[in-house]
Amino acid sequence: MTLLAVENLTVSFPTSDGVVQANRGLSFSVDAGKTLGVVGESGSGKSVSALTMLGLNPGADITGSALFNGRDLLKMNQHELRAIRGAEIAMIFQDPLSSLHPHFRVGWQISEAIRAHSDVTKGEAMSQAVELLRLVNIPQPEQRVRAYPHEMSGGMRQRVMIAMALALKPKLLIADEPTTALDATVQAQLMELLMQMQREVGMAMIVITHDLGVIASIADEVLVMYAGRVAERADARTLYFTPHHPYTRGLLASVPSATGVTGSRLLPIVGAPPSLINVPSGCGFHPRCPFSMEMCIDEQPGLEAIPVGADHSSACWLPPEMTGIGIAVDTARQRYASTHRGARSQKLPGVVAAAESTAVYA
């Protein structure tokens, strides 16, 4: 059952240096009880979409729709959104130190969140807070309930945030880089907790991160974002073993622990993520793409269905069958040329010439 359906979301911010186009036509959906992983680097616009849906970007120009249980979040006023936030959609932010109020005790903050949405007494809310702290594995929760955020370590603060988010058993949990600041063992504990909560309660999750390892562990479906748009969307296994979009391929080839990375040499993507003010024309990835063609500079590819794997679509001009890791650039171009006779000759833009020499993602 589809819980959240986002259609053509566009978010832009006017700034003194130009208009930042954070999201340029984003569409995705999340089913109940499933986890959607959103992968992207800094500047891909991944956090903005979540914040916008919850109405936390008041100064932005927003178009599109985000239907949650049939109601459009983008058209609701703050009053209606407040009823939904916390109770039905909960969000965990990236930096717990700035997301928790520094002047109030942790237990108080959790119990306030509970009391804002349900009719319980202060005492009941506080004991629920203690139980929540116990849930997220904070030792001595009865004492810890009275601590201030700055008295706790980073890992504990993040756990408090997760406790607050789970307090009202939301239908959808949005986690923005929930484990980036945490140690590996604490990260494992928390991911285990989130997955168990999901199994028991049927909670849907959107996990936004740049860590491909976290996505592999926790996501059912994956969305790869680049320059404010969806580059590729597929179910987790499909994405890691038979990716189509060159950006996805590039990401997988730069991560030491990924499948298909053999030998000792990582193959980074040349260049850096683009600015969202001056987004490259056509396909945003073309300046860094070793497979790029003239077509990529002129026209923006739409999300095309890919026949390989489950629920697979990719925004790329390369032939849909060309998935997988380990395809040489020339082969790719030949195949494209053979199926697109009459297309203009494929010339690489000068900037990417450097990538030619290491163009084989083998």
């Binding site: 680097e41 800094s42 629920q128 139980e131 929540l132 116990r134 849930l135 594995n137 030792p139 370590s153 980073g154 890992g155 504990m156 058993k169 140690d183 590996a184 063992t185 604490v186 990260q187 494992a188 504990q189 285990e192 907790l193 168990q196 909560m197 028991e200 309660v201 740049h210 860590d211 491909l212 390892g213 976290v214 996505i215 592999a216 562990s217 987790a236 296994r237 890691y240 590039g250 990401l251 997988l252 080839a253 730069s254 991560v255 030491p256 622990s257 990924a258 499948t259 000792s264 040499r265 990582l266 193959l267 980074p268 993507i269 850096a272 993520p273």
Partner: protein
């Protein structure tokens, strides 16, 4: 000292560039209104013995509070050691004063984690990279500029940007500036303190490749500190694992990842995320209970015993020494009374989490 049994084949003794023997660094905690007296201390590094061999990359992993960053700074003599002996290329650096340390600093340099904080934002890039040359009076004026621009090219920066400020560069480029600065004096050893943790994934790979190329080009030795196990596995020849101020296991990289002996290493490896959905899901994660204890009051005996699934009475009274477990190579050392045998599976704490979840849900049904 390491009790290494000499191997039967007459392999030459490894050429050790840096040797740390029982390094201890405690940070005193002072209290008092007028006259501060010491009430306790943070035992950041509490007796570490390690050696770094010429030309290798020694990876140092551990979680927050294990003391790896402090150890890196001890090695660099950024502060005095509480006790212990530090030998670099044959010279004893343990108790040298700042001015006596200066000439040795040419041989060892450091790359920092934060590309934004480790560069002085008010100085131009050329001046930052040329700083070591100026401090050690090695080049002046036009010659310094030439050297700096050469370094910029080596690390992949455009030498024409000599006069720009750090703010005009991206995170990955700023890290390259840090690398160029570290290379300026032709050091033998570079201590890399989490050099890629703060960077985007695709930029991480660029910097890791750069470090690898520089190592083979200039014959560098790296002490590579990180918390990401996959990255450490990728770059290191040998790896040391730290927990609460002590080294718990050290081995060649293949041995460590294939047959980890210490329970903590096992937990750490099983907890680390792998970018492969099949492996990630099938792996049985060992979930440790509790939190890392405070380094102000570390547990008695083996420091890991409070969270260890294999802990027994002996573990809380006697501290285990680093030695090679039966059946392991002489280079594979573990500090554990009951090292994990081949094929042994450690108990995981998943059940506790499940209990907690069920308890929580039973308490307040939706």
């Amino acid at each position: 000292m390491l009790d290494v049994v000499p191997t039967p084949t007459s392999a030459p003794a490894p050429d050790v560039l840096l040797r740390a023997e029982e390094i201890v660094k405690h940070f005193p905690i002072k209290e008092g209104i007028f006259f501060k007296h010491e009430v306790g201390s943070v035992k950041a590094v509490d007796g570490v013995t390690l050696e770094v061999r010429r030309g290798e990359t020694l990876g140092l992993v551990g979680e927050t509070g294990c003391g790896k960053s402090t150890l890196a700074r001890c090695v660099m003599r950024l502060f005095p050691l509480t006790s212990g002996r530090l030998t670099f290329d044959g010279a004893d650096l343990s108790t040298l004063s700042r001015s006596k340390m200066r000439p040795y600093r040419r041989g060892m340099q450091m790359i920092f984690q934060d590309p934004y904080g480790s560069l002085n934002s008010r100085r131009r890039v050329g001046s930052i990279i040329g700083d070591p040359l100026a401090i050690h009076h090695m080049a002046d004026g036009a010659e310094r500029k030439r050297k700096v621009q050469g370094l910029m090219e080596v690390v992949g920066l455009n030498p024409e940007h000599y006069n720009r400020f750090p703010a005009e560069f991206s995170g990955g480029q700023r890290q390259r500036i840090g690398v160029a600065r570290a290379l300026a004096l032709n050091p033998k050893l570079i201590v890399c303190d989490e050099p890629v943790s703060a960077l985007d994934v695709s930029i991480q790979a660029q910097i890791l490749n750069l470090l690898e190329d520089l190592q083979s080009e200039f014959g560098l030795t790296y002490l590579f500190i990180a918390h990401n196990l996959a990255v450490v596995q990728h770059v290191s020849d040998r790896v040391a694992v730290m927990y609460l101020g002590k080294v718990v296991e050290v081995a060649d990289v293949k041995d460590l990842y294939a047959t980890p002996r210490h329970p903590y290493t096992n937990a750490l490896l099983s907890a680390s995320v792998v970018a492969d959905p099949d492996k990630a899901r099938s792996r049985d994660r060992i979930i440790l209970s509790g939190d890392v204890p405070s380094p102000i009051n570390p547990p008695s005996g083996c420091r890991f015993h409070t969270r260890c699934p294999k802990a027994q009475a002996l573990c809380s009274t006697e501290e285990p020494k680093l030695k090679s477990a039966t059946g392991d190579a002489a280079s594979h050392l573990t500090a554990c009374h009951f090292p994990v045998a081949d094929g042994e599976k450690l108990a995981s704490d998943k059940a506790t989490i499940l209990q907690a979840v069920e308890g929580f849900l039973a308490e307040a049904p939706t």
